[in-house]
Amino acid sequence: MVIILTFEFWLIFMIECKDIVKIYKTGDIETKVLKNISFSVETGEFLAIIGPSGSGKSTLMHILGMLDTPTSGDYFLDGKNVAKYSDDELAEIRKAKIGFVFQSFNLLPRTTVLNNVCLPLVYAGVDKEEREKRGKKVLSLAGLEERYYGYHTNQLSGGQMQRAAIARALINDPAIIFADEPTGNLDTKTGQIVMETFQELNKNHGHTIILITHEQDVAEYARRIITVRDGQIVSDEHNGHRAVEILKRKSKV
């Protein structure tokens, strides 16, 4: 009963996609990369989008992450349709609500770990003292030891770099974290540690995480798995015990 009441409060989804279509034009040839994608994501979910290369999963992530806009369809973020937002409006939302973790880390070279992590706050206009305080906090949350904070990023190992990148994604306390093949450049063992970090952030800190991958065993860390093939969702499954719970809750709504 309590669960149902809580759920009615969340009638507005965090993310709601309706008939998202993305068409790329190369000369006269039109390629329909996404074909009428519709789904929704709730706050606190850990969702994996899985699919082979060329399936359109990266394009989907770019649209969800507001790095790109759909050709047609609606994308509601916190109840607002952002599908037609301008570049600068999208940048404003990314700054406030979104964190990214990339396959190739994308850390700035010749820059210290701490400064890399604090970069999003520079654009948010936060002053240096506050930035560094928050930077140290998220770095410890991402599991990087303090002695590395002053290192330049090219002095770190792959796992350490990805931890720094996760810390950077966390620094603006984002509503959603997008992780694009976060283990793609890491060995299996380090990959596992990184994925466990994501799980921990989701479970204990309530961050919504959307993971893009082509590896089934990486996707297994998530509680819900959407499989994309040829620009369409072919399955939307709930993974494990807790995911089933969510499904139950949803069916009651």
Partner: protein
């Protein structure tokens, strides 16, 4: 984005590639330094010309004979060759025109001059005592011609230093020359003074001259009372135009000419000469500055080249910055700041170097130079403008990069 964050980022990016930044700055340094040096040389030359014209005398008007055409006549003798000005004209100007401080009529001709064993051909100028004031002629040894010499038609002469050299050799001590006799047109004159060196203006050596009393010159060399010109010194610069107009009116009346266009004399106003000379010097300055400007332009292109390379190299960084929330404007400002910082540093070093160079030019090259605050400010303005103009295109390219493409750039 806060200003000190922008500053910090700009310097760390520029310092990340010291050699490239340094060479790019060098281009601007050379450009700015050459503009500063060239303009200072130009302005120095202009100053030299102006002061050399002013050395002819201050508040000066020179009345010169002109040509006169009769009605329907097409032929004229050359300007200045006519003998239309007389001693009486000069006296009338002195007595009737208000604002005349001094007046010095001059009769000038070229004659053969002989000393013991040597001889030369030089300008012999018959004039009055006032001439030394009106035309800034200083006497170094002895005295200048006096009014008494003029009245008495004394056969005395004051020599210019060049003439002294020509007649007595370079080694001669000027005191020894005083009292010596020279023969001008076979008439014996006694040397009473030697003028201080004035230097030449153009092709005309002002020191190659012999001054004799006007009365003497008119009596022995001219045989009439026609003068070559009349120098008039006005009381002040302000009333010079009025004095010029009054003299014109007076002489027209005296020469019985009704139409000013057919006047048989002309008046040169020193202010006009200074003006036309400075306009020549101005043109020279512009010419020099535009040659230097070309090197500044090349420096600017260097900036653009470097910034374009930087933008390409840092494509992924730009993608990331956009992904974490940088707006177009943030990216534009960042790259523009780098370009402007480069040109600004180049500007500061360039001004310092240009200053040293122009000091060196005046010290070793003997050409006067003049650095004005304006040219320094202009150089700064231009270098900042170059930073913005040549930095804008690369910055714009960076800002319009698509974040996805930029993030995936290899």
């Amino acid at each position: 984005m806060k200003f000190n964050d922008l500053l910090e980022q700009t310097f760390s990016s520029l310092l990340a590639n010291k050699a490239r930044s340094g060479l790019t700055v060098l281009g601007i340094v050379i450009g700015i330094a050459s503009v500063i040096t060239m303009v200072s040389i130009g302005q120095g030359a202009s100053g030299t010309i102006t002061s050399s014209i002013e050395s002819l005398g201050s508040n000066l008007l020179v009345v010169m004979p002109g040509m006169q055409r009769g009605v329907g006549q097409q032929v004229s003798s050359g300007r200045g060759s006519a003998q239309t000005l007389t001693l009486e004209d000069a006296q009338a100007i002195q007595e009737q025109v208000y604002g005349v401080e001094n007046i010095a009529p001059l009769y000038s001709t070229r004659l053969q001059v002989a000393a013991t064993g040597t001889n030369t051909n030089t300008t012999v100028s018959g004039t009055t005592a006032a001439y030394s004031m009106v035309r800034n002629v200083a006497v170094e040894t002895g005295i200048f011609i006096t009014d008494e010499h003029d009245l008495a038609k004394s056969k005395v002469a004051v020599l210019g230093p060049t003439t002294v050299e020509d007649l007595f050799g370079e080694e001669v001590i000027s005191e020894d020359v005083l009292g010596q006799k020279i023969r001008i047109n076979n008439i014996e004159f006694k040397i009473i003074g030697i003028t201080a060196a004035k230097g030449g203006s153009g092709f005309n050596d002002q020191d190659d001259v012999i001054y004799v009393p006007l009365g003497t010159a008119l009596h022995y060399f001219a045989g009439n009372d026609k003068v070559s010109n009349i120098s008039v010194q006005g009381e002040s610069q302000k009333i010079l135009d009025q004095v010029e107009a009054d003299i014109t009116a007076l002489l027209l009346e005296r020469h019985k000419i009704t139409d000013e266009a057919s006047a048989d004399f002309q008046i040169m106003n020193q202010a006009d000469i200074v003006e036309s000379a400075s306009s020549i010097a101005g043109t020279l300055t512009i010419l020099l500055a535009s040659i230097a400007g070309i090197s500044l332009l090349v420096g600017g292109i260097g900036i653009m080249n470097m910034m374009l390379t930087t933008v390409t190299e840092r494509t992924r960084e730009i993608g990331l910055r956009k992904a974490v929330g940088a707006k177009k404007n943030d990216i534009t400002v960042q790259f523009l700041a780098e370009a402007v910082t480069l040109t600004f540093i180049g500007g500061i070093i360039g001004v310092a170097l240009g200053w040293l160079a122009s000091l060196a030019v005046s010290h070793f090259g003997g050409t006067a130079t003049q650095i004005s605050l304006l040219s320094v400010l202009l150089a700064f303005g231009v270098s900042a403008a170059i930073g913005i103009i040549f930095g804008y295109y690369p910055a714009w390219r960076a800002a319009k990069l698509d974040p996805i493409t930029a993030l995936r750039y290899e």
